[in-house]
Amino acid sequence: MPEMTLIEAIRQAMDEEMARDPEVFIVGEDVGKRGGVFRATMGLYDKYGEHRVIDSPLAELSIVGVGIGAALYGMRPICEIQFADYIFPAFNQIVGEAARMCYRSNGTWSVPLVIRAPYGGGISGGLYHSQSVEAFFAHVPGLKVVIPSNPYDAKGLLKSAIRDPNPVMFFEPKKGYRLIRGEVPEEEYLVPIGPAKISRFGRDVSIFAYGMMHYYALQAAELLAQEGIEAEVVDLRTLAPVDKTTILESVKRTGKALIVHEDNLTLGYGAEVAAIIAEHAFTDLDAPVRRLAGPDVPGVPFSPPLQEWFMPNPQKIADAARRLAQF
């Protein structure tokens, strides 16, 4: 199987879906001639032309609004928001319109729309190029929220998202774009939206994570294994709908849960996972559910030591998991 980077897998998913279905098109800032600021759409403009890879004005509201309109006419738009930090001008379109269309039309209309956006810090991007926004959208019924952690899942999940009849928010860990590599089969495959995946089995403590933090959690588990601590790592992959079964299965096995995300702590996605565990697995718990997350400050700081302070990393995850294992 060929090995590739996360960004290559994402590009391949879009390429294959555009070749398969003429209704699939891309719209976003610099996605056309430039091939995207991260090169996610590189080569697609030349291959599919300016009508299917559309350079938009710097107006996120219009990118998503155009996408919703096209989707209602049966097309399959992929809207790229250049950085998740810039998604808020489109918030009303996503939450107020796309998420509700199927519900308010009693199933008559649906919005088969994918919104792709790179998220996350650790890339010295400062306050406007580092934020995590998943919790805002995972809160909204009517939206699916997907965050892949490796090339195989990224390709399979993005293809599923494009074929999904309803809006899917697809957030990509930008620090991992070229850092995370993995094998991707040449033949056609899909990864279903919904199921989480136990990516490493262990019996001492469960670590729940997604995106870049899942990559770090696996490294942390490796560190812990050298000390004789067997950490189980669960890649949540799909934040909405959430895979309660896998979460509860894992907690039932280990009795201890650590949830990791780089989004800030308060009312972050970890709060929901913690609540699910508290509600449905209380009598399986052998320790308090713990969260390791970015601190509650208004953004990932630009200063290198402050960014280091903000971001969870393998060492911090291992420390938190070790304390929990020893509890």
Partner: protein
């Protein structure tokens, strides 16, 4: 109420400390904030002030002893005050004069139950209730001496004979369990005195005894009949070949067992009376399908973890469940309720080379399917000889419930699902 003096945590990374010297003797008065004991860690030596005024009733950790942070070091209170007994257990190890203990305890008999167990987590509380365990019997290894889930599971493992009723049965050829019931060890104790010169006596393990009891009871309870059919595994083998890598990416080993269980589930749906239990009032037909899977533990014996609600699982789900249960069975990490409640069972005696066997029914189920070794054999198809991977399936059933006609119908259905395998994993 006596006040407990604990080993403080002298820093984030410091988990234990050593008592260098006690600055007060037992029975001596100490004032709050007065220096009481000198503690050292690998980093610092510190005088710890008393947290209460009163008499130093009892010292539990002697000079030179190293204990975890949170461990009770001593008790302070009014003269003659009773202190929780369990903590004094440790003091015996440190050879504190017994007179000291009695003088403090007075005439009140101190019960073991009075021991302060510290924080009891929800899972520990549940396990204690489910297994009727007296937690004071368990030594805690968690933070501050807390009893952890693992401590409870380790305790259960040690006291397995009472905790787990093992509904296990033996299928490995030639074992003692294939003997007639009369030949089985019954209630009569072993008679080493009649042994021949040079014989040795191997005491029965708890698991061996449980297996013996269950096999005997089953053979006495159900009239066993075994019917055998063969299945062409070409379709399953092709499907497995094509999907193995895909499953492996999800961390799951795709075994033939998953296919057999899937076929059993389909056949049980078509023949619901097979998923049943005999009772004097009538036949209890189970709505849920819980499949017991025999896992060999080598010479130690055999255990049968149960896949609950197997009809709700995909091939991937089944494969994952089998892998998980088998792994945990072999590392003795099964929960007691995971070996209970099966409504039908499967035993894969083919893994040890057996072609077909006559398995014994795990009570109170109606039947068990034995799976032999898959071997390439010449078979006649449309008057031509072909080489196909073939397997013998032995279905042992309770003749009180089923007759040959319906039993063969069920078994034929299992064969047909396997031979026409189309489900997309």
């Amino acid at each position: 109420m006596a006040t407990r003096v604990i080993m403080p945590q002298l820093g984030e990374s410091v988990v234990e400390g050593t008592v260098v010297s006690w600055l007060k003797k037992e029975g001596e008065r100490v004032e709050k904030e007065e220096a009481l004991v000198e503690i050292t860690t690998d980093k610092v030596q510190t005088e710890i002030p008393s947290i209460a005024s009163g008499v130093l009733l009892k010292i539990l950790v002697g000079e030179g002893e190293t204990v975890r942070a949170g461990t009770t070091l001593a008790w302070i209170g009014e003269p003659g005050e009773v202190i929780p007994e369990a903590d004094t257990g440790m003091s015996q190890l440190h050879a504190v004069p017994a007179a000291a203990a009695t003088s403090v305890a007075g005439t009140v008999p101190i019960s073991e139950a009075a021991r302060d167990l510290g924080f009891i987590s929800p899972v520990v509380a549940r396990l204690a209730k489910e297994h009727q365990i007296d937690l004071t019997q368990i030594k805690g290894t968690g933070e501050g001496g807390r009893i952890t889930k693992k401590d409870v599971l380790a305790y259960l493992e040690q006291h397995k004979e009472v905790a787990v009723e093992t509904p296990a049965w033996e299928t490995r050829g030639g074992g003692e369990l294939f003997r007639l019931p009369e030949a089985q060890p019954q209630t009569s104790p072993p008679q080493p005195s009649v042994a021949l010169q040079g014989d040795i006596l191997i005491p029965h393990s708890a698991m061996r005894l449980a297996i013996a009891e269950h096999m005997t009871r089953s053979k006495r309870t159900s009239p066993h009949v075994t019917t055998v059919m063969e299945a062409d595994m070409s379709a399953v083998a092709a499907h497995r070949e094509a999907h193995q890598a895909q499953f492996a990416r999800d961390g799951v080993r795709l075994t033939y067992t998953a296919y057999f269980i899937s076929a059993i589930v389909t056949a049980l749906k078509a023949y619901p009376q097979v998923n049943s239990s005999w009772s004097d009032e009538g036949l209890v037909v189970h709505q849920a399908i819980h499949i017991g899977v025999a896992v060999s533990l080598g010479e130690e014996g055999l255990i049968v973890p149960v896949i609950k609600n197997a009809d709700g699982l995909s091939l991937l789900g089944l494969a994952r469940a089998i892998q998980d249960l088998a792994e945990r069975a072999r590392s003795h990490r099964l929960q007691p309720d995971e070996v209970k409640g099966g409504t039908f069972s499967i035993t894969n005696h083919g893994t040890s080379g057996s072609l077909f066997a006559t398995p014994i029914i795990p009570q109170p189920q109606c039947g068990i399917l034995g799976v032999g070794a898959i071997k390439k054999r010449p078979v006649v198809i449309h008057d031509a000889i072909a080489i196909r991977p073939m397997v013998y399936l032995s279905f042992t059933f309770d003749h009180r419930i089923l007759d040959g006609y319906s039993a063969d119908g069920f078994l034929a259905k299992v064969v047909s699902v396997l031979e026409n395998w189309t489900e997309v994993g």
